[in-house]
Each structure stands twice: as structure tokens, then as C-alpha cells.
């Protein structure tokens, strides 16, 4: 399989590089800067798993922590890790990945053919269907677990080492997107001891996929300058690849820093992951937002993707996840995705706006950007 969906326009990927990896045993290639998800999409992989109850084929819908479908088993042997989101796994040479959902495999799924399983599982199936006869519960559970494919934990001792760091700071900024970056800069300039953490591989958040300009330069280069500026402050600690996973009492936060996961190796010295236990005087949550998906009939078929994710794959990773697009939106923001799609040389079939009279400037810019569409949702 080749990278049929690869563009050479990714702001954060190097389309001339080659990184070999395997997916469900198949050899594939991605590029430097890819996540596993962007590499799979570049290779035209549309189905990445099967759903829990109905065993329906599912594709990648998001580009970050929100991804519900692309749940992967990474690595093998003692160092294997289950249940990682492909959207957050940085690609490295030799990475081994496998879908955790799907039995016997994602493309030929016994359960969806027999089809009986989902019908047995209405809401409350935990409480209704399997309550009786109680003796069968063990059997059911075994089957559900196998069917759901929750991944498998390694059975050998963990070869990696881990450590913890207790930290104190004046201002902890969670999220290094546009808001978090400028917040950290202001706090640092005021003399505060600042920690800024972000779960992504590099700082910038949504700006990494933005084609906006800030202060007359590309958003991504503005980010680079600002990050360099932050790192020049002696009172600022920057923590990329670090997820603030819990905000506890009295401004106590747990931050999981993944130090070597992206290299696919155990740490030569120090730890694979580090747990920062941070007590902050003040906390700024600059986490950004998830795009809220639209709930419509058959909205789970592979190929349905969040608009912001489509733009991210095109602009940040240089991947156009498909050929022909119908954009369905309730807001102005998503029109940018149609513009991005068109610029990627792909066809915008239609833009469906649920609003009766969308009038924003970007809506009207469609023709100028080379596509036109004015379909509207039929209201019942």
C-alpha cells in the first residue's frame, strides 16, 4: 500500500522522509511528523476497528484525545501498550500497531455477518439481558470482552522504569495552544514561576493546523518564535507530550509526561514516563475545545470525520483523507474545511448548512475559493 492520500503541504510533516511501520501485520510507510492516524489515512486505511455492540466498521473521526474508534495496540511483548489512540501515537521507525476492535479482524468481521449480537444488547444490556441465567454471565462476559477487543495487557514484567517529580509553581498553564502560549508568556514576564504542559508532541495546539496569519506571519512560525521565547525564560518549564490528567483539590494536578514513547524505545537513562505532581498557586485551563459532532442517521460510517480533523490532517500532516467531500455544518467555522479541502485538490461535492440563512463572510467566500454549494437541510 502506498501513501495515496499524501500531500506535500503539511506544515508539520516532512513529506520527503520515510518511516516504516506495520499495521495489523502489513508494512506501511509514513513521514516524519506523522501520527499513526495521519499515516494510516495517508495510506488510505478507512476502517480501523469494529464497534462494541453492533460490530459496525468504524473509521478515524478525530485527530486527538477525543478519538473514539482508532484504538490501537502498540508494540509487542513486554513493552506492548493497549488502548492508545492512533491520533496521539507519534510515528517512529519500526512501530508495530494493531486494531484492538474487530474479531476475527477488522475487515472480515464474523459478528456483523451473524448480526445477532447487537440485537441482544439494547440499552441496559448489562442489567437486563445478562442477568439471567446468572450462571451464563461468565460466558457472556468472556464473549463480550473478546468481541469488544479491549486490547491486551502485557503479561511479562514491565521492562521500563518510571519516576515522579513533585513540583511547585506560581502559574500552571494547561494547554499550549494560542491562549495558553500567550498566557504563559505574560505570566513569565511578570516574574511568575510557570509550568506549561501540553499533551501534543509540540506546542501550538490548533495553530499547528491553522492557515491563519498572526502578526503578518504564518501561524506556525509565530508559534515557533513564541515557544523559543518561552524557553528562553529561566522561570518557565515547558512540558510537551505531557497530559494534565487530573485536577485535584487545592490546585494539585497530575501530569503524565511521555519521555520516550515517541521514540519507540526504553529510556537509556531515566524514565520512560514521568509523573509530575504539581502544586500550583494558580492554574490556567487553556485546553481548547472539541468540535461537537453531529448526530445523524448512519453518522458512523467510515469516512465521516470531524471538520476540524479534516483540516488538521490536510494542513498539519499533509494528508487528504479521501477524495470527494460533503461538508455538513451548523456554523461558519467549518467552511474553512471546505476551503482547505479544495486547496488540497479534492472535490467539495456539497456544503450542507443546517442554518436557514447563513450569512457570514466566509460562507460567501466559497465561490471565490473555487467551490460552490448552497444545499440546505430540509426541515421537517
Amino acid at each position: 500500500m502506498s501513501q495515496i492520500n499524501r500531500l506535500n503541504t503539511g506544515a508539520r510533516t516532512d513529506s520527503t522522509s520515510r518511516i516504516n511501520f506495520t499495521y495489523n501485520g502489513k508494512q506501511m510507510q509514513g513521514v516524519a511528523g506523522d501520527t499513526l492516524a495521519s499515516a494510516l489515512l495517508a495510506n488510505g486505511v478507512n476502517v480501523v476497528g469494529r464497534s462494541f455492540k453492533y460490530s459496525r466498521p468504524r473509521g478515524i473521526v478525530g485527530h486527538g484525545a477525543e478519538e473514539p474508534n482508532a484504538i490501537m495496540q502498540i508494540g509487542s511483548g513486554a513493552a506492548t501498550v493497549p488502548n492508545l489512540r492512533a491520533t496521539q501515537v507519534e510515528l517512529y521507525e519500526g512501530l508495530e500497531s494493531a486494531s484492538v476492535n474487530g474479531w476475527p479482524n477488522v475487515n472480515f468481521d464474523l459478528m456483523s455477518i451473524t448480526g445477532w449480537f447487537g440485537r441482544m444488547m439494547p440499552p441496559g444490556f448489562y442489567y437486563k439481558t445478562f442477568m439471567y441465567p446468572a450462571k451464563l454471565w461468565m460466558t457472556y462476559e468472556h464473549f463480550i470482552r473478546k468481541a469488544a477487543g479491549l486490547g491486551s495487557a502485557p503479561v511479562q514484567d514491565d521492562p521500563d522504569s518510571y519516576d515522579k517529580l513533585n513540583q511547585h509553581c506560581d502559574v500552571l498553564v494547561v494547554g499550549a495552544g494560542p491562549a495558553g502560549l500567550v498566557a504563559a508568556r505574560e505570566a513569565a514576564r511578570a516574574g511568575a514561576r510557570v509550568i506549561i504542559a501540553d499533551e501534543q508532541s509540540e506546542f501550538g495546539g490548533s495553530l499547528l493546523a491553522s492557515i491563519n496569519s498572526i502578526d503578518g506571519q504564518a501561524a506556525t512560525s509565530w508559534v515557533d518564535e513564541l515557544v523559543a521565547e518561552l524557553e528562553s525564560f529561566s522561570n518557565v518549564q515547558t512540558l510537551p507530550r505531557s497530559t494534565a490528567f487530573g485536577y485535584y483539590d487545592h490546585n494539585f494536578l497530575g501530569i503524565l509526561q511521555r519521555r520516550t514513547d515517541h521514540l519507540g524505545i526504553s529510556a537509556d537513562s531515566g524514565s520512560r514516563q514521568r509523573l509530575h505532581r504539581v502544586r500550583a498557586k494558580r492554574v490556567i485551563l487553556a485546553t481548547g475545545a472539541f468540535e461537537r459532532p453531529l448526530v445523524f442517521a448512519q453518522n458512523d460510517i467510515p469516512g465521516v470525520m470531524q471538520a476540524s480533523s479534516v483540516s488538521t490532517y490536510i494542513n498539519r500532516y499533509g494528508v487528504a483523507p479521501g477524495n470527494r467531500m460533503i461538508l455538513f455544518t451548523t456554523n461558519d467555522n467549518a467552511y474553512q474545511t471546505a476551503i482547505d479541502w479544495h486547496r488540497a485538490g479534492r472535490a467539495v461535492v456539497a456544503v450542507v448548512d443546517s442554518r436557514s440563512a447563513p450569512s457570514g463572510e466566509i460562507v460567501g467566500s466559497g465561490t471565490g475559493n473555487g467551490y460552490s454549494s448552497n444545499s440546505r437541510l430540509r426541515s421537517d
Binding site: V61, N69, Y162, V171, G191, W222, N333
Partner: protein, 548 residues
């Protein structure tokens, strides 16, 4: 900063939040220092709040409209749950499994809650959200454990004699964080063989135990005796220097909490021994009462557990062994009596020797500063060689004390036992003026109830059978399940000195049931018959510890 979408507004809010947070943390004046970044973007018109795209068919008959992709929760499933009577968002979550997946409903839950609100005919605000809990995304066990694995999982405490024990091939037992020798097998000896040999050695000649782990609290101050007397069931007001007394400590509910010997070191100076596991709790307990209830009492506590090595030599030849290494104490029975303690020199080291006994034999507990621990230990081993002095561990200690019916707090008691339940009324001072901790509770109707579980001995009809500790006790083994349980076995061993098994148990109204046959039904269907006997199996008159 929720609900701000335009890039320019995000940048502006971020800058002011950063400056403000720094100010609140005591840095700067809250003023923004950097010029606002200039952004070109389209102005946005309002979005439509659309949570469920309508279908020509009713939701229940339309193709699935998925809310939670990972767990296949659809809009029709949420509506069905409402039809079945669910109203609370937390119940709906659990009934439909919405948000249960590894993605924790990051995409689905907001739509699901809005669809629920619509199905309930109420606003989203009225419906509310489920509580989102850490972790935000899956976190590895490795990171949570950190370096606290393997040897660093839990600190281990060793006595000063630890290395000697290891050199002798001792098997160790965890007692709290302490590593204590459990028994000292010789060659290929089994545990039972080793324990039998150790038990016989103590009763027939002399054994030596590392008792350093016992909790030790140094108590000083003009009100020390008064304070100690308030904490124990018996009185220490007239305890003279050089004397020891065994005491039981109760919680305010009248239940046994700890026990041990307390020695009067000098005027206003006492040394309190606690159980190994109870040391920290007892110290906190003493400080609680002194600091919060009786701050007027002048008394000070210091934990000195680790300061001392305690070598206990016990058995009929204990005095002869001690005499070989201690010249400056008159060891004659009437000069250094049972429950006395003396300062002296043992093998050249200043020592405190306590003549107290947990085995029922003539016993000296020799305390020296911990650094001299191994020196003293080896001196005693050398001195005892001609008597075949036998090192023994906690298992033999347990067997020997059980032969004597001495309780172990936390094994024979479980926080619901009064001194009377343990047949230890003798330790409760009847004439104490101050209402010591727990005293009032001993008169509560439940404390004087006649069918309380009471400590008894059990002698199996077949003396080779050793009852399992924790076994339930019934009066009629033929009754239907569930049986009427009358008590349980708290301690059980094979006694090589007596040639049969022994057990301690608590049985309802047990003190009035001597001679009755009871049964312990086992999981395998068998049932072991045993007779209720006195809890003192050996030397019932207690003569051996006073031996000449």
C-alpha cells in the same frame, strides 16, 4: 475561558488570564506587557445549536444515529431509557453506557445530554452533566507506581541483629514493616520441626529471641504517672523505680487497643512497651489525649523503639547464661524478682534488664543501645553454648505464649473485646479515682451482656488435628446451613511440649461453657470436634516464671 472561538479573542483572553494569574500568585501588577497579536480572520455568525439532526422517520425507527461511537450508544437508546423511566443524567449514563469507553465520552456526552434533555422535555441546564473524573485520558500503571516498585515498594525495617539472623538461615516474617525471624530451620528441617525443637529448647533449657521490634515510648514529666494511669486500665501511681507492670490500654469504647509492660525508670520517668504493630498508633493516641484533653498535664513522649536492641533469653537456664556475662547485678531470685528491672553491664555494655516473661519461663529481656546489638547477641550465644541456647522466631514465641494463654492484641482480639471478654478482669483497677480511658464503656449494657464472645482454650478430641485459625465454631455440626455460629478460632498451633494441638478461641458465653464439646465445620465438609478448656494450657499456676 469557555465558549470563546475566534482566534483573536482566545489570544486576548489568554494574555489577560496569564497576567491576572501571575498577579494573584504575587507576581506583577496584572498589566498585559506584550502587544496584542494581530490576526486576520473571518468574523463569525452564530452557530446553530443542533444536537440531533431530525430524520424523516421517528428516532426509534430511523437508522441508528450514533452518540457514543465507542460503545454504540444511539439517540434512540437514550430515548428508550427515558421511556423506561430513567430521568437522572447519571442513571442514563450507566444504563446506556454512554461515556463508559476509553474516550470517556469526549465527543458523545454533550450531544447525549442534550438529546436526553429534549426527551425529558426540559432544558440542558435542568438536565445537567455527568461528573467527569480523572484520568482525562488513560494513564499507565507504571507512571502511577513510579519508582515505588520492587525493593522500593515498601520500606523494610531491620533490627541490629538482622545480619546474624540471615547468616543463620532464618525464615522471615513481615510484622508491619519489620522483618522478624519467623523460625530458624537447621538443615532440611520443616517449619513444624524447627518450631517444635525451638519450643522444647525454651521449656527445657534456654532460648533467645530478638525482641527489638517491640514499640518503646520514653515518657517523662512530673505528671507522667498520672497520665499513664489514665491511659491504662490499672494504676501506675505507686509503681516504684525498678519495677514493671503489665497494662492493657482501651479505646474510649472499652475495647482492648494495645497491651504491654510499663517500667518505672526513675521519678517522673517511665518506659512503655507496646506491641510491635501498635507502636505508632499508641504514640499518636498518647499525644492526642495529652494535647487536646489534658494539656495541663506535664508529660512528654519520645519514640525510642529503634534506639534499643532487645535480646530476650528465656528458659530454666536463662539466669545461668546471664550470670556469665553480667557481673554487676545481683541475679538472686529475691534480689531481682519477676517484674523487676535493673541497670547493669552485660558483656561490657551498659544495659537495662527487664525480668518479664511472655513465655511463662524465667526470662530476662536485655536492652542495650542498638549499636551494640550484635555484640550483645553474640556474647549471649557464646555464653549459652554450654546450655545449647537456641535462637527462636516469632512462631515459637506465638506457640509458647498460647500455651500460657497470653493473648496477642490484634490476633486474639479484634477491636471488639473487653478485658473481661479476655478473662483479664484482674488487669482492670477497681479503685482508680480517675475514670481511665474506656472505663465508663465497660458498664455499657452491651459490654456486660452475658453472651459476649469470650476467650477460651480449645482442645481437639483428636490431638493431632490442628484447627485452622479463623475457623467458625458451632454447637451442632449437623444443623442446616447457614449454621448458627457461636465463635471462632483466634490462635491455633501444635504444642510439642504438650504433645497435642492447642487453640485459643472466642465463644459466645464461653467462660460458662468449660467442658462443652464444640465443632469447627471446614470448607471441605469435615468438622473437627474440640472441647472447651481453660485458656491456660501450661503451668497454670504460673510458677516457672518465678523460678529460683
Amino acid at each position: 475561558m469557555a465558549g470563546t472561538y475566534s482566534l483573536a479573542a482566545c489570544l486576548a483572553e489568554g494574555a489577560s488570564a496569564g497576567a491576572e494569574a501571575a498577579k494573584l500568585a504575587g507576581c506583577g501588577d496584572g498589566r498585559i506587557r506584550f502587544p496584542e497579536p494581530q490576526v486576520e480572520e473571518y468574523p463569525e455568525q452564530p452557530a446553530q445549536a443542533l444536537f440531533l439532526v431530525p430524520h424523516t422517520k421517528a428516532t426509534s425507527r430511523a437508522p441508528s444515529q450514533f452518540v457514543d461511537m465507542q460503545l454504540d450508544v444511539s439517540a434512540s437508546g437514550i430515548e428508550l431509557a427515558v421511556r423506561e423511566g430513567f430521568k437522572s443524567v447519571e442513571h442514563i449514563k450507566r444504563y446506556t453506557a454512554m461515556g463508559f469507553g476509553t474516550d470517556q465520552g469526549k465527543l458523545g456526552n454533550i450531544n447525549g445530554m442534550a438529546i436526553l434533555a429534549s426527551a425529558l422535555g426540559q432544558s440542558i441546564e435542568q438536565t445537567g452533566t455527568t461528573i467527569f473524573r480523572p484520568s482525562y485520558s488513560p494513564t499507565t500503571f507504571g507512571a502511577i507506581a513510579g519508582a515505588d516498585v520492587g525493593a522500593l515498594f515498601d520500606p523494610e525495617r531491620y533490627t541490629a541483629v538482622q545480619r546474624w539472623h540471615q547468616e543463620q538461615g532464618a525464615a522471615f516474617e513481615d510484622v508491619g514493616q519489620w522483618k522478624r525471624p519467623w523460625y530458624f530451620p537447621r538443615g532440611v528441617e520443616s517449619m513444624q520441626d524447627a518450631v517444635s525443637r525451638e519450643c522444647l529448647a525454651v521449656r527445657n533449657s534456654v532460648g533467645i529471641l530478638d525482641a527489638s521490634t517491640l514499640g518503646k515510648i520514653d515518657i517523662q514529666g512530673p505528671d507522667a504517672a498520672e497520665f499513664i494511669t489514665r491511659m491504662y486500665t490499672n494504676s501506675y501511681l505507686k509503681l516504684a523505680p525498678g519495677k514493671c507492670r503489665y497494662g492493657v490500654m482501651l479505646k474510649e469504647d472499652g475495647m482492648i487497643f494495645d497491651d504491654g509492660v510499663c517500667a518505672c525508670i526513675g521519678d517522673n520517668h517511665y518506659l512503655m512497651f507496646t506491641t510491635t504493630g501498635g507502636a505508632a498508633g499508641v504514640l499518636a493516641w498518647l499525644e492526642l489525649w495529652q494535647q487536646t484533653e489534658w494539656p495541663d498535664l506535664k508529660v512528654y513522649f519520645t519514640s525510642v523503639t529503634d534506639h534499643w536492641t532487645t535480646a530476650t533469653i528465656t528458659g530454666p537456664n536463662a539466669r545461668k547464661v546471664l550470670a556469665k556475662v553480667c557481673a554487676d547485678i545481683d541475679l538472686a531470685n529475691d534480689a531481682f524478682q519477676f517484674m523487676d528491672w535493673r541497670d547493669g553491664t552485660v558483656a561490657g555494655v551498659a544495659a537495662r534488664i527487664f525480668r518479664i516473661s511472655f513465655t511463662g519461663e524465667l526470662t530476662y529481656e536485655i536492652n542495650v543501645p542498638a549499636h551494640y546489638g550484635r555484640h550483645i547477641w553474640e556474647a549471649l550465644i557464646a555464653a549459652g553454648e554450654e546450655f545449647d541456647i537456641t535462637p527462636y522466631g516469632t512462631e515459637t514465641m506465638h506457640v509458647l505464649r498460647a500455651e500460657k494463654g497470653f493473648i496477642i492484641v490484634g490476633q486474639d482480639t479484634d477491636g471488639s473485646m473487653t478485658p473481661a471478654d479476655m478473662n483479664m478482669d484482674w488487669v482492670v483497677g477497681k479503685n482508680k479515682t480517675f475514670s481511665f480511658i474506656g472505663k465508663r464503656s465497660l458498664q455499657r449494657s452491651d459490654s456486660v451482656r452475658e453472651n459476649r464472645k469470650q476467650l477460651v482454650g480449645l482442645k481437639t478430641v483428636d490431638g493431632t488435628q490442628v484447627l485452622p485459625e479463623g475457623a467458625q465454631i458451632v454447637f451442632d455440626p449437623e444443623q442446616k446451613i447457614p449454621m448458627s455460629m457461636q465463635g471462632h478460632v483466634t490462635s491455633s498451633y501444635f504444642s510439642s511440649n504438650l504433645g497435642h494441638s492447642i487453640a485459643l478461641a472466642v465463644v459466645k458465653g464461653g467462660h460458662g461453657l468449660l467442658g462443652k464439646t464444640v465443632y469447627c465445620p471446614l470448607a471441605d465438609g469435615r468438622s473437627i470436634a474440640a472441647e472447651i478448656v481453660s485458656s491456660v494450657f501450661y503451668d497454670p499456676k504460673g510458677e516457672r516464671q518465678n523460678a529460683e
